[in-house]
Symmetry: C2
């Protein structure tokens, strides 16, 4: 996502109207590395503009996604998350604290080949585990082998 001022200019140039709500959403997202959900964006913006509605947040996030300024992440869990970093990178969800971290790794060619005969347009890699902080804590799972506590056998 480009800096707020540049983004505003870009929006205007494309005929979009710049409302205070949109400006606030842009400012919240700019440089944000927390991969917020729509709900989190809503709450943050609401602190400054109590009148803002969730529908407006969704509308703006959708518009930004279509403009290619942010990307939508489907990392499991109920809600979608939004990332102002549109570079190709991967995501890690900590099963302890729930935070989502970025990370970078180069994928081999055959990943981009996909199934025989197919054409791959987009690849999303999602890892789940425990972040550095949560590993230090003596919490359940902190030293367990796996984050999947569900194996009954």
């Amino acid at each position: 996502m480009q800096p707020v001022d540049a983004l505003i200019a870009h929006c205007r140039a494309h005929g979009m109207r710049m409302t205070v709500q949109r400006r606030a959403i842009f400012q919240y997202l700019w440089g944000n590395t927390k991969h917020p959900t729509a709900e989190e964006v809503f709450q943050a913006v609401q602190e400054r503009y109590p009148g803002v509605s969730l529908a407006t947040v969704y509308n703006t996030l959708e518009t930004l996604t279509q403009m290619g300024e942010i990307q939508r992440l489907d990392l499991g869990g109920a809600a979608e998350r939004f990332d102002p970093d549109v570079r190709v990178h991967h995501h890690f969800t900590c099963s302890g604290c729930g935070q989502v971290l970025d990370y970078f790794a180069v994928l081999p060619e055959d990943v981009f080949a996909g199934p025989p005969g197919a054409r791959v347009d987009r690849v999303q890699l999602h890892a789940v585990g425990l972040c550095a902080d949560c590993r230090k804590l003596p919490l359940p799972g902190g030293s367990a082998k796996s984050a999947n506590p569900n194996l009954s056998s």
Copy 2:
């Protein structure tokens, strides 16, 4: 997922009751490579057992997931999908026809390292594009450069 008979024996050995509904769900899932949603499982089972309820399907799928017999896939889109193949493999969603295909590729070590200091338990790789069949069709997107129409400028 193990063969139906073995799975039934395994369930019984763990004190689970084998109802006709569960048996039908097991049979539908065994060898199924279509990555069905809960709704699709429900409809398939309903053809033979009209009395079955969606809640039962969800319950059984949840139980199988906890047993490690199937895996839950979150591939975007509204509904979760379920895969009786629990080996580590990747998934490809065709943006033309919507089908989900399996594919295999070896990932480099650093993918499993995750962010600095973290411990990775699970990695899911999801590709989106056009499958071999859809590439042959003269449909919109069939010859386009990318399925990501979101880059405006």
